[in-house]
């Protein structure tokens, strides 16, 4: 608890962002209980209604409750982002750690062939190319985003392990007879993990954005599942007569991305040991 107090001291924005991230997770987990309506139930009698007591954020072109769809959209966004970050983190860190620690021909293959191959494409283009040929769907979306997500972790982990492997405590651990796995897991991971955690937090923001972008383009989760991106795409047609269909999902994406970005910045400042903190 001490580290939370230090981290949020004099940084109200970070505190607010952390609170918002917790709120997003709670909404995603308990969407079924919180949501006032079923997000897929249509009520054509109340189509394109603006915000009212019955529908706090209005209703869409099929009379579906926008608030319920935003709430269920949170579940999709958070599920996709957490899954992508977990898989990318594990694959990227594993490859990066092995490459950085052993620094041999495996590292050359990893760095020159694998990482550079994936970096020859702008990130979202790779995901679009992948989904264009495989077809849309939740698992394919996660797979496509993992394809671009692991690179950042691999590069960062490789750099961290390359730097740390030359340090005295690693030499001491090796000299005392510790196995490579023990040196990596027990000695090096705790000393390299901090920037990777920051990367994961900022990566959550990027993944939420990428998921929403792909859904907006019709390459994400197929309808009728409510994704923030697809809600925005559907709402564009009614920009003249029902702007609330665009404003609320847009605000949801923006606030979620902002919260993870602010939290990532705060974590980076907290882990940065240069200068006084306490």
């Amino acid at each position: 608890m001490m580290f939370l107090r230090v981290m949020f001291q004099n940084n109200r924005l970070a505190l607010f962002s952390a609170g918002f991230v917790v709120l997003l997770i709670v909404v995603a987990v308990f969407a079924g209980w919180i949501s006032p309506y079923d997000p897929a139930v249509q009520d054509l009698a109340s189509r394109l209604n603006g915000p009212s007591n019955a529908h706090w954020l209005g209703s869409d072109e099929l009379g579906r409750d926008v608030l319920s769809r935003v709430i269920y959209g949170t579940r999709i966004s958070i599920t996709v982002s957490v899954a992508v970050m977990l898989v990318s983190f594990l694959i990227g860190c594993y490859l990066g750690a092995i490459g950085g620690y052993f620094n041999g021909s495996l590292d050359q293959i990893l760095n020159i062939v694998l990482i550079n191959s994936f970096m020859a494409f702008p990130g979202v283009l790779l995901a679009i190319a992948f989904i264009a040929f495989l077809g849309p769907g939740l698992s394919r979306l996660i797979l496509a985003l993992c394809l671009i997500g692991w690179i950042g972790f691999a590069r960062l982990a490789r750099g961290q392990f390359l730097k740390t492997r030359e340090m005295d405590f690693v030499t001491a651990a090796r000299a005392s007879g510790a196995s490579s796995a023990r040196v990596i897991l027990i000695h090096m991971v705790p000393n390299t993990i901090q920037p990777i955690v920051v990367q994961a937090c900022l990566g959550m923001a990027n993944t939420i954005l990428a998921e929403a972008t792909l859904s907006f383009l019709g390459l994400g989760v197929p309808p009728p599942a409510p994704s923030w991106g697809s809600m925005l795409s559907d709402g564009r047609i009614h920009l003249f007569d029902a702007p609330h269909l665009v404003v609320f999902p847009a605000a949801a994406v923006m606030l979620a991305v902002l919260a993870f970005n602010f939290l990532g910045d705060a974590l980076r400042d907290f882990f940065d040991t240069r200068g006084p903190k306490l």
Partner: protein, 306 residues
């Protein structure tokens, strides 16, 4: 210097080779039979076989790959099913619109971000700096698919200053360019600020000021010039994001470029056209990265001397 150029050029060639291989393999990722996917389940067997033969999918993979690369080198990217014309011709028709939009966004982003970043660094830790930093983070978090419709709502529907969509004169370009360029402007502002902060503590600036040079000259001709390397790197790398952003922006504003063409091709399962579009964007991205590397040679004499 020639050696650096050659090394970068070879690396560009390797990247293009990797991209071409990946794009070739994409068709083989299609679940089931790609020919059936293109023609639909009710297609006649004769038509299926004819298309399979036309695409060369009835041959071993290595032969297909050889033919694909051979055709690419001759400028033959296949034939678009939807437009019934060579893919290269369709791409060449749409490419200038995408470049016009991307370059306008880049220009707009630089025009905004350089003075804003310099100002934030000069006034660091003041209210002005905090506002600029806040707005740049806001710009970074506001996705273009949200910004585009909001700009249309405000400036096209409410104020009626700009047209809702389409391509034409300068007025048609403003909203799509702002939508596409905002993210780049936000990243560059942050980069200019941090690069300038590093530079402002250097002794040579104090010397320049004490010699009687104006503050503006010292900031923009001395400090900014020396901060250019990290800025050029970020702008070069971010140009890829700008190109990826054209998918959304062109779709929102019905801009007839390659981004919108790709989405239409995906919708119609026009796989040769999808491959051509992805290749065009990826090669542009690699080309921009190559130019960025060359720009280092111009802005940093130390690299030229290596």
């Amino acid at each position: 210097m020639l050696l650096i150029f050659l090394r970068r050029f070879l690396f560009m060639g390797l990247s293009i080779f990797i991209v071409v291989t990946f794009i070739f393999l994409l068709v083989h990722l299609v679940p089931g039979d790609p020919v059936l996917q293109m023609l639909g389940e009710g297609a006649q067997p004769a038509d299926v076989e004819q298309l399979r033969h036309a695409l060369g999918l009835d041959q071993p993979v290595y032969v297909q790959y050889f033919h694909y690369v051979h055709n690419l080198l001759r400028g033959n990217l296949g034939t678009s099913f939807r437009y019934q014309e060579p893919v290269l011709r369709t791409l060449l028709r749409r490419y200038p619109a995408t470049m016009e939009l991307s370059l306008a966004s880049l220009l707009l982003a630089l025009l905004f971000s350089i003075p804003a970043g310099v100002q934030a660094a000069v006034k660091s830790n003041t209210g002005q700096d905090r506002w600029i930093s806040f707005f740049s983070l806001l710009g970074l978090s506001l996705p273009n698919f949200a910004l585009g419709p909001l700009l249309i709502l405000l400036f096209s529907i409410q104020l009626m200053w700009f047209p809702v969509s389409g391509i034409g004169g300068l007025r048609h370009l403003v909203l799509p360019a702002v939508t596409l360029g905002l993210g780049l402007a936000a990243v560059t502002t942050r980069m200019v600020r941090s690069a300038m902060l590093e530079e402002l503590s250097q002794d040579y600036l104090r010397t320049a000021l004490s010699k009687g040079l104006s503050r503006r000259t010292v900031l923009y001709k001395h400090a900014l010039k020396n901060s250019l390397i990290p800025i050029v790197t970020v702008v070069g790398l971010q140009f890829g994001n700008l190109l990826a952003g054209t998918f959304v922006t062109e779709s929102i504003f019905s801009w007839p470029g390659i981004g919108r063409l790709t989405l239409q091709a995906i919708q119609f399962r026009d796989y040769p056209l999808v491959q051509g579009c992805i290749l065009a964007i990826a090669v542009t991205y690699i080309g921009v990265n190559f130019l960025t590397d060359l720009a280092y040679l111009l802005v940093d004499p130390r690299i030229r001397m290596e």
